[in-house]
Amino acid sequence: MTLPPSFAATPFNQIAPALFWGMAGVLVLLVLGTAAALLLPVLQPARDHTNLRQRMLSWWVMAALVGAALLLGWPATLGLFALISFMALREFLSLAPLRREDRLVVLLAYLVIPANYGLLAIDRYGIYLVFIPVWTFMFGPFILAMIGQTRAYLSTAAIFNWGLITCVYNIGFAAYLARTPLTQAPQAGGAGLVFFLLLATEANDVAQYVWGKLTGRHKITPKVSPNKTWEGFLGGWATTALLIWFVGPWFLPLRGWPLAVLAASMPVAGFAGDVTMSAVKRDLGVKDTSQTIPGHGGVLDRIDSLTFTAPLYFHLIIFFCFSKLPWP
């Protein structure tokens, strides 16, 4: 029995050139960042550079995991994103104010993850679209009602629904892009679409941070996220928009004004995801959602922008490019 081609790992001579060079570029950035992390303690011995060193080491691990999953094919990519969803949801439900009676509902919430990604794996995209936003949205609160604890009922239902949408449903879009057939995304295949989504989202995070550090003066959300500035936002917006406009054509089936729409809106979505999660963390009274990723914080801290950019990127590509849905 031969596996259908999309099930098999990508042979190395069949990696799309854009994906190969994109990964090579990330490798160069990692080497440069690591060199900086190793050199800075020599140049500025007085300051503590532990955080930068940890951050860079974690970037290596994250890049290796994502790179391996993309090269192994879409089932591995779905699996990796399901694991990311689980860790993010676990962090969120552990910090949110749940009640003692909700303990087994937390377990049920985790079971939504294999169902959500399973629907993608068997190509039931139509059911996937409504599974969490309609069915768990209704039946989750019903189960909470059957528990019989009415104290904080409404806010508890909101916590479960919000966590499932951001950590599971929205992240599923990023994983499903890996399933796009080569005919629909001839530039670098589905893996290339996922790669460029992650590249643009993380580049935006880094660019907004660096512009803010270098030039930031006017606070944009002083109460929610006091480190965010207009200078950081605009500098990051311009950097990411240029990246998408000039590098995007190697990965995306978008050209002209649809590409411009994507370039202009992606950095805004990344910023929105970041600020929204900051508001959640401020409400909960924590700085990071966990310590899982040394130097970065929790998984949810790392993917906060992605919870907004993934559905936007997915739907803009669908809207502009695919005359009919690319999946069977």
């Binding site: 689980f86 860790m87 676990r90 962090e91 439900l93 552990s94 910090l95 104010p97 749940l98 009640r99 003692r100 303990r103 087994l104 937390v106 377990l107 985790y110 904080a152 909960l284 009274g285 924590v286 966990s290 310590q291 899982t292």
Partner: protein, 211 residues
């Protein structure tokens, strides 16, 4: 050997999957034995977290103190408790009868082991209240002055597997490790200082508890 393989290849990944196994203050962990780890207790998960937070080379030294009446009651659980978890048995029923229930722990400390104990004596109900601390830890600190007493607060474990539950639910936990509580030569003052240290750690924990 079985213990080492079990703890590194099974218990560690399990702890990460079920709890995230975050540790704050790892620099306060003892680098060598003898030492006494004094932690709050809400779940069997506490022992899992305490056994997996240490560097691998200290694994052979780790000895959780555990109630003999509970953990040695059957041959299978007895074998698991002794050979895998590596418990020091405590005869709770003998306490107050004049028998020296602390002797096994004192011997373990004399061998240079790191004894993990729960001064509350039993698992609590994962509410915000910490139970009354039993003063055995003060007697150990008096008898083995070489062993520092290190306070550890575990947040969240009582939600993963509360007392009486059989089905574990993955939820993030945080282990907070404090500076050693010095033995003052006086039991009441020492116990008050230990309680203070544990409550101070609790105050720094993320809100991983029921509302």
């Amino acid at each position: 050997m079985i213990r080492f393989i079990f703890l590194t290849l099974f218990a560690r990944p399990l702890a990460r999957f079920m709890t995230g196994a975050d540790v704050i203050g790892a620099e306060h962990l003892p680098k060598t034995g003898p030492a006494i780890i004094a932690a709050n207790h809400n779940s069997h998960v506490d022992t899992l977290l305490l056994l997996t937070m240490f560097p691998v080379r200290l694994l052979p030294r780790l000895r959780p103190a555990a109630a003999a009446d509970y953990f040695l009651k059957g041959p299978l659980i007895g074998w698991f408790s002794r050979s895998i978890v590596g418990i020091v048995p405590v005869e709770r029923s003998q306490a107050g009868s004049g028998a020296d229930v602390l002797a096994p722990m004192r011997e373990a400390l004399a061998r240079g082991d790191i004894v993990i104990l729960f001064p509350e004596g039993t698992r609590g109900d994962a509410s915000d209240e910490m139970g009354e601390l039993k003063s055995g830890v003060a007697r150990l600190a008096n008898d083995v002055p070489l062993a520092p007493v290190i306070p550890v607060w575990i947040e969240g474990a009582g939600r993963v597997l509360p007392k009486g539950a059989h089905l574990p639910v993955p939820m993030n936990c945080t282990v907070l490790i404090g500076e050693p509580v010095p033995w003052t030569g006086e039991r009441l003052g020492f116990m008050a200082a230990l309680r203070e240290a544990l409550l101070a750690l609790r105050a720094k924990a993320p809100p991983q508890h029921w509302s």
